[in-house]
């Protein structure tokens, strides 16, 4: 994955733009964004979960899947091209699969609750919400591990550090402390 990564990112962004347009122009559902609680002022209720997802549910899930893909693609873009090794790519793909698995669990358990009205609880929350609360948060942890444990391998290697120090030294030697004047640095 080299220079074409930016085209992958552009394609994901284009797809998200299209999906957002489709959602904005979809057949409207009353109170899709919630409505006032009938008893308690200041509280809002969601109401009929199935009706709210009827026209845009799949689009919303696709939007979220693309967003998760975009996050991984952006993180990969943040790694210098020369360090985007097969191992890094494997880690990034595994991260994406992990995130998509959590999304699938959350969506399927929510739809199951809507259909049956029954749910189990995990650490204080109904199962679908626990997937959203703990699962989605955990979905970003592989990126923390890749960055922290792979820092000297993918992010800022000893060679990178030496190269940057050389650049700083050269800049100082050339009197290139330009006070941020780009013309002088060309």
């Amino acid at each position: 994955m080299g220079r074409q990564l930016i085209y992958v990112i552009a394609a994901i962004c284009a797809a998200m733009t299209i999906i957002l347009f489709l959602i904005l122009t979809a057949e409207p559902v009353a109170n899709a964004g919630g409505s006032a609680h009938p008893i308690f002022a200041g509280m809002r209720i969601g109401g009929d979960g199935l009706a709210r997802l009827e026209h845009i549910g799949s689009l919303g899930y696709a939007f979220q899947a693309l967003l998760l893909s975009l996050i991984v693609a952006f993180a990969t873009l943040g790694v210098s091209e020369k360090h985007r090794t097969p191992r890094l790519r494997a880690y990034m793909i595994a991260t994406l699969i992990f995130s998509l698995f959590i999304l699938w669990q959350m969506v399927s358990s929510h739809l199951s609750f809507i259909a049956t009205g029954e749910t189990t609880y995990f650490m204080g929350f109904p199962a679908p919400t626990a997937w959203a609360m703990y699962g989605v948060w955990l979905g970003g942890i592989p990126l923390v591990l890749i960055y922290t444990l792979g820092f000297r391998q993918f992010i800022y290697t000893d060679e990178d550090q030496a190269e940057f120090e050389k650049l700083v030294a050269k800049s100082a030697a050339e009197g290139q402390e330009t006070n941020n004047n780009p013309e002088e640095a060309r």
Partner: protein
Amino acid sequence: MEAYRQEIILGAVALYMVFCVITGLWAMRRTSDASDFFVAGRGLGPIVISLALFSSTLSGFGFVGGPGLVYSIGVSSFWMITISTAGYALGFFMVSKRIRMIAELRNCISLPDVLAARYGSEAVRLLVAITIVLGVMGYLATQILAMAVVMQAILSGTAMFADIGLVACVAISSTVLIFYCVTGGIIASVYTDVVQGGIMMVAGVLILLTAMSVFDGGMTEATSIILKDDSEAIMPWGSAGIMASLGWFFVFGLGLAGQPHLVTKMMMNRNISDNRHIFPLSVMGYVLAALLWVSIGIIMRATVIDGVIPPLGLPDDAASVFLSVFTSPLLAGIVFAGLFAAIMSTSDAFLNIGTAAIIHDIPKAIWGKNIENELMWARIVTVILAIVAALFALYSYYADATLVALLGAFGWATFAASLFPVVALGLNWKGATVPGAVAAIVSALIINFGVQLAGIALPYGVSGGLLSFVVSLFLFLSVSLITKPPVLDRDIDRVMDI
């Protein structure tokens, strides 16, 4: 001890404010030029940076508006928090290394400085600086308003200050903020952030433990009560629905790497290699502090539905009512100090970047040179900016009593949509062009302000922030791809290869 509840709370907050003032005086001795005032001479260690980073992220919006949002719309607002790991990840993967490199190579003291160097364009510097000033006004006003609301809640509980008004509270809290920001600049800001971050983490954990003891069945009983009342409120998309939730997920996740008050802190560390420690420490701190947001909101919604306490006057009262009803005076004192800490840590960061934009970047973009005696002007403009933001906060409060939280989200979204592509993509893609950057910033500002000012309600809870962010990203990429690739300065080109 219960009889002295208000006095204990007041004492904890007063102690904290005295600490801020002393830190300001201490930091003044270490602030000798504009570089010290704005980027602490790029000499801060990993623990200081990580605490400053997360405490600036979780502002008054998180401590006052966050629990209020959970009370009001249930789980929907969780999406702002659960994305934090991925959000920080993008900040560190995409921004932290190169922004620090360019800052050192070009002696940059602000984000617009770095972007002017990256794009070789004063137009980009000017646009980014203007965006920062606009966003700072909205965000800083939110923080000052939150600070005043909390202070009024504390003081009005005492006999001596029972009738104190909001204007007086704005004046008192702003004075402390201005004092330590003016005297100590960013050095005072980050060192107060360290203590602020510590208080916020302790407060988050203690509040979670307290919240779990409100119902015999713990958090499970609380969420069951909400489920019986309205299941969607406690299901993954909450009352606000799927697109409102995903909008926050998008804007708060990707947007973190476009927040100028956060990425500017990534310029201040002593060593680039410290980032490997700063990243996990920041995430951990944020998660611990955010426990307060989730647990107070859930418990307050459940207790009101269950009839344990009467309905709140305003959703934003959730945190203060929880503290007065369910916590010991000592814990309430710690948490109220934590509330001020959260608000002030963000406010001082905004004051700092707003001042840098006004006295450093805008003059440089227009006249091509720095103004003389930047340090003196920095102090003067800090005072003026805080006063203007305080007046704006009062106007917003009395003319339009919307949730503090939504104003905060608007500020975040403005920065996210307009700056993320320019900063995060621009620092990692040599093909990013000036026209692409201009298109992204201008489109984001127009859509964000247009939707907000015109009061347009998009279908399915889609927010103006989400729409502007998606359009801005799309325009940045497409315009950059069809315009001529830029010739980068030699040093910048090499930095982007590292």
